[in-house]
């Protein structure tokens, strides 16, 4: 049995440092999720409008986000805009901007999808029962929309948490980077540290994302036939 390099984790404050690194990625994704929800919901509602101009613009925005890898967007914001506009941007802020830009598009698309998935007869039946537009929206459309939207947006949260692992590529010191530092620092005393450390990072991500995606699945199943 080869040495698995797990002992490194219990040396000094290594485990705490790894968790600190994880918190950095979590913080970025949570802030970005917050902004994405705030901006995505109104945008999604705007996208259900019939105006051709609005449709063209939002379509373009969604296609850009759909086609460009998040890493390219990170590079553009972190290296490109700083060069062109000459401002100073720290890596964490650049990450928040990129993930908000991406998340808003995804969230808006989910909101739009949820709204147009409500069949027209729901509006018409509610009107026929004598409800006014506000009541139709509040008591008929909104509850159904939320049931369709919530599982999908929870799923989006796990995707954003996973994608924040990319921020190490523009120099944010998050869990993978901390892992690298620990491995480098212990190169001589435990040459197999890479296994233990990267294995732990792998596990940490799984422990973080799995319960959230289970919740999403559970809600989806629970609400699917209502």
């Amino acid at each position: 049995m080869p040495n698995l390099g797990i002992e490194v984790l219990f040396k000094g404050t290594n485990m705490a440092r790894l968790l600190g690194g994880l918190w950095v990625s979590l913080r970025i994704s949570l802030i970005a999720v917050g902004f994405s929800v705030l901006l995505g919901i109104p945008l999604g509602i705007i996208m259900t409008a019939k105006s051709k101009v609005i449709k063209a613009f939002t379509r373009l925005y969604l296609e850009v986000v759909r086609v460009m890898p998040q890493m390219v967007l990170l590079f553009i914001v972190f290296f490109g805009t700083t060069r062109i506009f000459g401002w100073n941007l720290n890596a964490e802020l650049a990450s928040v901007i990129v993930f908000t830009f991406w998340g808003t598009a995804e969230m808006a698309d989910l909101v739009r999808g949820a709204f147009i998935s409500i069949p027209k007869h729901q509006y018409e039946s509610a009107k026929a029962l004598g409800m006014n537009s506000l009541h139709v929206f509040l008591f008929v459309i909104l509850p159904q929309t939320i049931r369709r939207l919530l599982p999908l947006s929870i799923n989006l949260v796990t995707r954003m948490i996973k994608t924040t692992s990319l921020v190490m590529m523009i120099g944010v010191v998050e869990v993978l980077k901390v892992g690298q530092q620990i491995i480098e620092a212990n190169r001589t005393s435990s040459p197999n540290a890479a296994f233990g450390v990267y294995g732990t990072v792998f596990l940490l991500y799984f422990i973080g994302c799995w319960p959230i995606s289970m919740l999403s699945k559970y809600l989806e199943k629970k609400w699917s036939n209502t």
């Binding site: 080869p2 460009m68 190490m168 990267y198 294995g199 991500y205 799984f206």
Partner: protein, 219 residues
């Protein structure tokens, strides 16, 4: 924008794109195979294999590709399993994609099973006929939109290959920026080349979707 610089960088980007495409398509083909296999195992609830596939799917769906690649590339050699960078990239992509494809195809299978199976059986088809003529064609047709979405997702994910020092588009761009500071040109080329890969896939995907929708409803 300096066009001469762009001209001199073009061959480098072209080479990088070919590498991305080569590893990308190998990874995607294996991802689809692995995904269909896992979906079948899960759908027919084959004992042991079904549980194994379930664990595999959950693990790879809930971890980022970058972390998976780090584990495959840097950690496995420590326990005596050395792995080449390009092979590692394709393997990582196949494992990640397989998990996503499996879930997609399984929900496709589930959406056609039930009444369709019963009707086919009552028409006198045997079990294997039901599978090959009724369930699979419809399940594939229904999964196509998500398959396309997954393929686009996987192609985008190839951008993390630079982390295991594969000379892909990302790596080339970062390298050139570091060497010559032609940031604007490098990033423009990066965007153009990713668009070159992904826009055709996106357009073809839309077409394919429309065609199979046709197939699903007959006519």
């Amino acid at each position: 924008m300096n066009w001469e610089v762009i001209g001199s960088y073009l061959p480098l980007y072209w080479k990088a794109m070919l590498l991305t495409l080569r590893i990308g398509w190998i990874g995607i083909v294996f991802a689809i195979l692995l995904g269909v296999l896992c979906a079948i195992v899960r759908f027919y609830k084959i004992p042991v294999l079904s549980q194994l596939a379930g664990v595999y799917i959950e693990v790879f769906r809930n971890t980022p590709l970058l972390v998976q690649l780090f584990f495959l590339y840097f950690a496995l050699p420590k326990i005596g399993i050395p792995i080449r960078a390009d092979f590692c990239g394709a393997l990582g992509l196949a494992l990640l994609g397989g998990a996503y494809m499996a879930e997609t195809f399984r929900s496709g299978l589930e959406s056609v099973a039930g009444i369709q199976t019963e009707s086919a059986l009552s028409l006198g088809m045997n079990k294997s006929q039901v599978v090959t003529h009724i369930i699979f064609p419809q399940a594939f047709a229904r999964s196509v939109p998500s398959f396309v979405a997954n393929i686009i997702f996987l192609l985008k994910e190839t951008s993390v290959f630079s982390a295991i020092s594969l000379m892909d588009l990302m790596f080339t761009a970062k390298d050139l920026i570091g060497l010559y500071y032609k940031t604007t040109e490098c990033l423009t080329l990066l965007v153009v080349f990713y668009a070159l890969i992904l826009i055709p896939v996106s357009v073809l995907g839309d077409r394919l979707e429309r065609r199979v929708r046709h197939a699903e409803f007959g006519d």
